[in-house]
Symmetry: C2
Amino acid sequence: MDDERRPDLAAMMVPLGRILMAAEEPVLRAHDLTMWAYAVLYALDDRPLRNQSALAQSIGADKTRIIGVLDGLQERGLIRREPDPADRRAHLVSLTPEGRRLRDAAQAAIQEREDRLLARLPENERRAFLRALRTLHAVPRDEILGDL
Amino acid sequence: MDDERRPDLAAMMVPLGRILMAAEEPVLRAHDLTMWAYAVLYALDDRPLRNQSALAQSIGADKTRIIGVLDGLQERGLIRREPDPADRRAHLVSLTPEGRRLRDAAQAAIQEREDRLLARLPENERRAFLRALRTLHAVPRDEILGDL
């Protein structure tokens, strides 16, 4: 029985996530990006055009905070904001080519570091781990909370 | 190339960790425990006797915050605090039998929910995922940060 006992998932995942975020900090600084700025560039890569509120929600920021981040990115020519033709009160946000280059460079450096950590796992286990993490990450939040 | 692209580890693990913590909230409330109180009981289970500062550090709380939590747990008879015979300025903290029972009950309920999420993974992948997570979680923070 005691052999089968495992640590709580949350108790393993939360501190590990925090360490991985701390490990990103020097990389982001080297690319002149804050964590929030990177979160925006990261979110935009998946889905090129988003309205501002959806973007804020998807990165877990409140709308007030994200507006300053978007202003800074736009001044640096990394993103573009345009009125949404379908809804004039909303804005669509997209990466500029320069924004995509910076994002790709920062992400490559981050993942290179993450890969060094993952290299501690045997090849098969590493693949299974990443596959499982993608599956679990793709489960909608409400479904997990309802289910659990 | 694009096929091989994966999301950032941190970008998967941090939101998933937050959802798992949110899922714990109703369970903890049902056991009349706050997140910090559970974190203390959880940490004590692994290593029965700890001094207060080490305990605060291990759960990522500052010492000021943890003292109130420990007071509350002690009043409820869930933990015991005694002067450390090896160092009179320090206190050793341990679970009472009642504290261990409550901790075990809360943990069982939390893990039952987590298992429902893990059930979305094929059996082999689930095992590999948990094994990998334990391995990565056991790597000391400084080693990860230095390495990465």
